[in-house]
């Protein structure tokens, strides 16, 4: 009897509605941000820790070549899967250059046999002096590689 009364007095069910207007606002802002930063070609590249690429103010983005990647850090040179560590580049430049040239020579010969050319993508730290780059350019020239791409980050306005 009591149960029946309770059922009769129960308030009618109202339709549950969720206010999603604020959520829509957030999603619209995210959508606009993503559309502004959208790129049709995703440039994926691995940059080792401690490497600060130089920055450029440019509107032109350019295409990335991922042929032979050479990373020049303050304490090591990475070329392909080879790591050439050094404590002082000036003191060890002969050994570093030799090791670098040997690797590039082998790679270049292999590419030549396949009918391809070698292009080096150079990714150096912004604080590296030109004397280091110069040494490696000479070593690459000795290995028969004369085409390079210097990689930089585009500064946001």
């Amino acid at each position: 009897m009591r149960k029946g009364k309770a059922l009769r007095n129960k308030r009618p069910l109202t339709s549950a509605s969720l206010n999603i207007t604020s959520l829509m606002d957030v999603l619209t802002i995210i959508l606009i941000f993503l559309l502004v930063n959208y790129t049709d070609s995703v440039q994926e590249t691995d940059i080792p820790k401690g490497l600060n690429l130089p920055q450029l103010q440019s509107k032109e983005k350019g295409t990335l070549t991922e042929d032979v990647k050479v990373f020049i850090l303050r304490d090591r040179v990475l070329v392909g899967d080879r790591v050439i560590p050094f404590s002082s580049f000036e003191a060890q430049k002969v050994e570093i250059s030799r090791s670098f040239a040997e690797f590039l020579y082998q790679l270049n010969e292999q590419k030549k046999n396949e009918g391809k050319t070698t292009r080096v993508s150079l990714r150096a730290d912004r604080s590296i002096p030109y004397s280091v780059i110069d040494e490696l350019l000479v070593a690459a020239g000795a290995a028969g590689v004369n085409d390079f791409d210097l990689l930089a980050l585009i500064e946001e306005d």
């Binding site: 009618p12 069910l13 109202t14 339709s15 509605s17 999603i20 207007t21 959520l23 829509m24 999603l27 995210i30 959508l31 993503l34 559309l35 930063n37 959208y38 790129t39 049709d40 995703v42 440039q43 590249t45 690429l53 130089p54 920055q55 450029l56 440019s58 032109e60 983005k61 350019g62 295409t63 990335l64 070549t65 020049i72 050319t117 292009r119 993508s121 150096a124 730290d125 912004r126 604080s127 590296i128 002096p129 030109y130 004397s131 780059i133 110069d134 040494e135 350019l137 000479v138 020239g141 028969g144 004369n146 085409d147 390079f148 791409d149 210097l150 990689l151 930089a152 980050l153 585009i154």
Partner: protein
């Protein structure tokens, strides 16, 4: 009174009212949920740029066509800490036709580009830019100068902008 009763009946029956602010946003939400993950996958937070250069030697890059009637000239750019020295040289003899010193600073890149544009427009055969860089110049500054050298130049009557072939001359090789 009648309107109120009708609203109550509608509510009991589960009929949604079509009043203001109750528009159905669910299809838009579904679209957003598809669009956002796709765009997140395509977004680039860092944009990279590569500057093509060559060193002296047999290069795999495109060969430059020769026209014997025109005077063959090259630009030689010497990059120092304090200044950039830009020389227009006769290719056969190496004699300078014009020499300009630009004081390194905030305006130096713009002045260098203006000079390169001016010389390229005056000498249609001018295609090569030789660059000598001082040993103590940092990679950051070197890249900025080389980027200016590789900037596209709009030329009258050409649909594609012109870019100099930049040859960096290593010090050790000289």
């Amino acid at each position: 009174m009648r309107r109120k009763r009708r609203q109550l009946t509608d509510l009991r029956k589960g009929v949604q009212s079509s009043g203001d602010g109750d528009s159905n946003l669910l299809p838009i939400m579904s679209l957003m949920l598809i669009l956002i993950p796709f765009l997140v996958g395509q977004v680039a937070f860092m944009h990279l740029k590569s500057i093509s250069i060559n060193t002296p030697g047999a290069s795999s890059s495109e060969e430059l066509e020769e026209d014997p009637k025109e005077k063959s000239v090259v630009i030689q750019l010497d990059v120092y800490h304090q200044k950039y020295q830009v020389q227009l040289l006769e290719e056969s003899s190496g004699n300078p036709i014009a020499v300009t010193d630009l004081v390194a600073g905030s305006q130096a890149q713009q002045r260098l580009f203006a000079l390169l544009q001016q010389w390229r427009r005056y000498y249609p055969k001018l295609k090569i830019l030789l660059v000598n860089i001082d040993s103590s110049i940092l990679y950051q500054d070197m890249v900025r100068v080389l980027d200016t050298c590789r900037k596209p130049i709009e030329l009258a009557g050409q649909s594609t902008p012109f870019k100099f072939k930049v040859i960096v001359v290593p010090k050790e090789s000289t």
